[in-house]
Subunit: 459 residues, 2 copies
Amino acid sequence: MNPLLASSPHVITVGAGLLDEALRAQAVPTTPVAWRPPLPGTAAALAAALADPRRHEANALAVGRLTAARPHLVGVRRASELLEAGTFLHAGPPITWERASGPMRGALIGAMLLEGGAADEHEAADRLAAGAVTLRPCHEHGAVGPMAGVVSPSMWLFEVRDDEHGGTAYCSLNEGLGKVLRYGAYGPEVLERLRWMDRVLGPALAATLERTGPIDLRSLIAQALQMGDELHNRNRAATSLLLRELAPAVVEAAPGAAAEVLRFVNGNDHFFLNVGMAAAKAATDAARDVPGSSLVVAMARNGTDFGVQVSGLGGRWFTGPAGVPDGLYLGSYGPEDANPDIGDSTITETSGLGGFAMAASPAIVRFVGGEVADAVRATRSMYEITLAEHPVYQIPGLGFRGTPVGIDVTLVARTGLLPVVNTGIAGRVAGTGQVGAGLVAPPAEAFTRALLALAEANK
Amino acid sequence: MNPLLASSPHVITVGAGLLDEALRAQAVPTTPVAWRPPLPGTAAALAAALADPRRHEANALAVGRLTAARPHLVGVRRASELLEAGTFLHAGPPITWERASGPMRGALIGAMLLEGGAADEHEAADRLAAGAVTLRPCHEHGAVGPMAGVVSPSMWLFEVRDDEHGGTAYCSLNEGLGKVLRYGAYGPEVLERLRWMDRVLGPALAATLERTGPIDLRSLIAQALQMGDELHNRNRAATSLLLRELAPAVVEAAPGAAAEVLRFVNGNDHFFLNVGMAAAKAATDAARDVPGSSLVVAMARNGTDFGVQVSGLGGRWFTGPAGVPDGLYLGSYGPEDANPDIGDSTITETSGLGGFAMAASPAIVRFVGGEVADAVRATRSMYEITLAEHPVYQIPGLGFRGTPVGIDVTLVARTGLLPVVNTGIAGRVAGTGQVGAGLVAPPAEAFTRALLALAEANK
């Protein structure tokens, strides 16, 4: 007799539930296994990447560095101190004026006007098209920028230092809501606000931070997660906690400007976003350049392309077309007004926050759409593509489980689960501003290409 | 044939599950009903109270007024403006020096010293024992006070106005943490802080609120619930949001004191508690004096007795012995150091916050003990003894369900479920200060007595 038939069968079922249901109806014990097909065309590369003997240790080292980072806000500096003349930074992987989307062009035009490089928007656009300014990604200058992420010399930057590994990261100051440069607006009120930020806000904050000394952002972010922020599209708690810390020192460091500075910060719940982005950049940078690691150390979008960088593959970008977010729209705007996904703010997801921490932030669904259960589901699914649970960033509603952190390209390819990103939505026409907020899936190509490069490097 | 046997039986099972299980095992359809015995000795009174034809409408009116209240912080006033000379207020139902617990005596001694009525603690105690000061409950003067709740003329009070019904409620300013008068401490550092509050903090906040105008506390509390506060033992978000609102105006209204005022408020996450207590008092007061209503309009403790007041029964107190909270202790303190439950802060539970809103505040379990699931269970059980779900105070984690609000004495008696109170724990020896925080069940007697009075009033 066939030995298979000598005892009662016990069947392991995989994938769709049909076989499992049929067997159970016949009282055959089964063990169902959740399984998804890997991303198309990745089977061979996946096998090669998984065979890398360095991988396990390299990933443990890389994600250990990411989660051990202790980012502190140490200062505020004018970009002119750090940026060579004639260079503007922008969000996402490298982009040219020709391929730039509406909001990216709008922000570049605004920066050109702010710097006095053109008399009006048409001249600014002409000069940018003619290459009068060198465009470089923020990420290649140790910085990150939300939405268009444009940084020009007379803007100010938060300076964040990782006390564990010594790295430094920068992010621009948040301009507030409505028509703002980062969403591609460049009207007179936008430029006037940026000039006030250059003249008043930047110096006041710089003097304030000299007074407070370094502010522990890891602790502040951990607290904000206990208070319903996910640190990408909800920063209400973090902004409030930071303002509490800064307020007495603002009064002492800049008494003449204190009231307007405090009023400006209080007027914008996203003020902390940029601080948190720099903290995330400092942490993910600590995980860079570990040979053999398949850990994602940056995800970023320029409004045209979505790009990822991987720890074991240096500064190379792996890109795919940026998708259009699905979410809630402001006023009379709708999906037809939306620009494809834009900004370096996906550094929050890369560090285990934002879409990955949505279970900590039930109220976020009022801003990006969906139900509370969707937010919990989103976070739970991200544990399948990440290498660790953050030891300090915890989710009270999941019994204080750490947030999923450390996206592994091989896990993305193997499960077909793409990182959950929650994001603001920029109007596609230059000069519009914000039109909504929602969720967006990154293009699978970016991860597939990174995986192929890992397999190639492994040969 | 007995008509009961002419068709298949369908059995409704009540209480313990034994009968239900036995019938189900025999494939008899059952409808199990959750049921608890009413509080002992309440059956007749319950029948009488439930028979009151006014009850349904009276309760709808009362709880409608409670949830429609729109409390606004309108000012800060010195208690001397409102308090007749020679009177001190205290928390809970009326109490005499003879029956006062350690922390209540400690706070009264401190107030006596603060007012210059005695040269030292012994003289203060002697004079208080001799009746040199009239002791009256805060609640009888439109006020509430946390823990000992002692108010003397040179303390300042938050003034909250209910814009819907026009009522006004007061609460003292929160002193901060550690050794503080409200926990029964009265050392030199306690008195020095109170003198600074009288000289600097009170006037600065009064000038600030004149500048900001009324601050909408209903909106602020609703936001804080979205940010993980339950507004009794967790007020971190509410304190942060209030400080954000006040900060620019503090700078303008009291430039010389702004930094120290902001530093003081930032140093104490419970700063908002007292504001929220006044807001809760304004709302519950709006529900008072509806003839026939069995709604609880106050729960309060003086460290010896726990008392409730009921809408349809005027200003009468129904009391039972205050229990000792069960929770987490600070440092080397333990249950043997704990005083019985004390303070008017149960006004938060009376208005649908605190223990009733714990599901909104998973992080609270780190402060009062237990697991996140316990917090969710506590809130869910309170829907069984309340008349409404708050239309504005919502719990994101329960799909934005309103908090349970409006305790009904008849529902408490019928279910035997007592209100869940989360609270600070005072040291039982006068002068000690805070020793912990935890949960406490009110004495069933207080509710039984109120029910008997309702039945009596109904004759």
